[in-house]
Symmetry: C3
Subunit: 140 residues, 3 copies
């Protein structure tokens, strides 16, 4: 049984949904030695989120953005408006999509389905850099 923990600092992304599967896997040199285990991906922010979605058609992340903007509109009588009109909807989206993922590992690889990818969901107009904590556990 081994534990590994890494901090992954992502550069600023524009508002929207961005595939980061490769960045996550590249930050985990120990992944190959895990026979069975779990990878936890955690984002340390409340206005961006981490989610799994379809990894092939670039229209999917675009539709995710317009769809989430429709479900959680900026035009709403929010009280918390001091950080701009995109801030409170970002907190709601972050709560709905979640701040972490747990992905099974088998024979040194993430057990993602063929069409599954890991997305950083940036809900702010200018969210800046985002910090992830990657925690890998398993047996070799």
């Amino acid at each position: 049984m081994t534990w590994h923990q890494h901090r992954l600092v992502l550069p600023p992304f524009r508002r929207g949904f961005h595939l980061i599967t490769e960045q996550v896997v590249s930050a985990l040199p120990e992944l190959k030695q895990v026979r069975v285990g779990l990878l936890h991906v955690f984002i340390q922010h409340t206005s961006a989120s981490i989610s799994i979605n379809e990894n092939a058609d670039p229209d999917v992340p675009r539709d995710m953005e317009t769809s989430m903007n429709s479900i959680v509109p900026e035009e709403f009588p929010y009280v918390h408006t001091c950080e701009g009109p995109d801030d409170m909807p970002a907190h709601v989206k972050s709560a709905l999509l979640g701040s972490s993922l747990l992905i099974p590992i088998s024979e040194g690889r993430l057990c993602l389905g063929t069409w599954q990818g890991i997305y950083l969901c940036e809900h702010r107009n200018r969210g800046g850099s985002r910090s992830l904590v990657l925690t890998l556990q398993g047996e070799g």
Copy 2:
């Protein structure tokens, strides 16, 4: 500390919410030997999801379906329409409800509340068979 991992292939379900607690538990013969631990249930698809909900009244899964159809309508200017009008809303629902569950284990049993059950949420009209990865860890 032990790790066990199983693949559970579910037969095609019709669109909607379906209780699968028994199927999941039946696939885990090692569960009884775990004194304290965690069970991870992961679905390898992006148009179906895994969720916990009320396990007693069959009206609840029906209302979950109509409610999610109202929150994520098919009538929306999606760009990703090549796989049919039910596909992109399925990706949104899957992101909102989540692709995995983590459930505590105590004395050989899942620590679910009295009214909690595990649901497969099929968001496609004809989703076909769905693959789950069950990862069990704990100490005996």
Copy 3:
């Protein structure tokens, strides 16, 4: 590698979003001895949820409540109405926000971001006491 599991029974909260980070940490005397690990917080109910959100401005939990009431309205043709008009929307909110959290641990502390707090989200008008299962694992 050590495992610790505690039951945390929360007193009744009024409907809305309530910070419980301190209650959770106080229930975990073993946390300080974990060098790297994970904390799982699980709620054993289907009409309340557990979520991470902004921990500083009390307007945020207020806006979360009004926003979730707008996304999941009580005025909807639900069939499951036998437990009152706030019950079925509570099940939908609980499915959307989730029934558990997994938080990384580093050097004896939860790796929460500066602005992240753990919220109990009470979706019923009179939800009563709520039971959490806290499962801590890691290496010392």
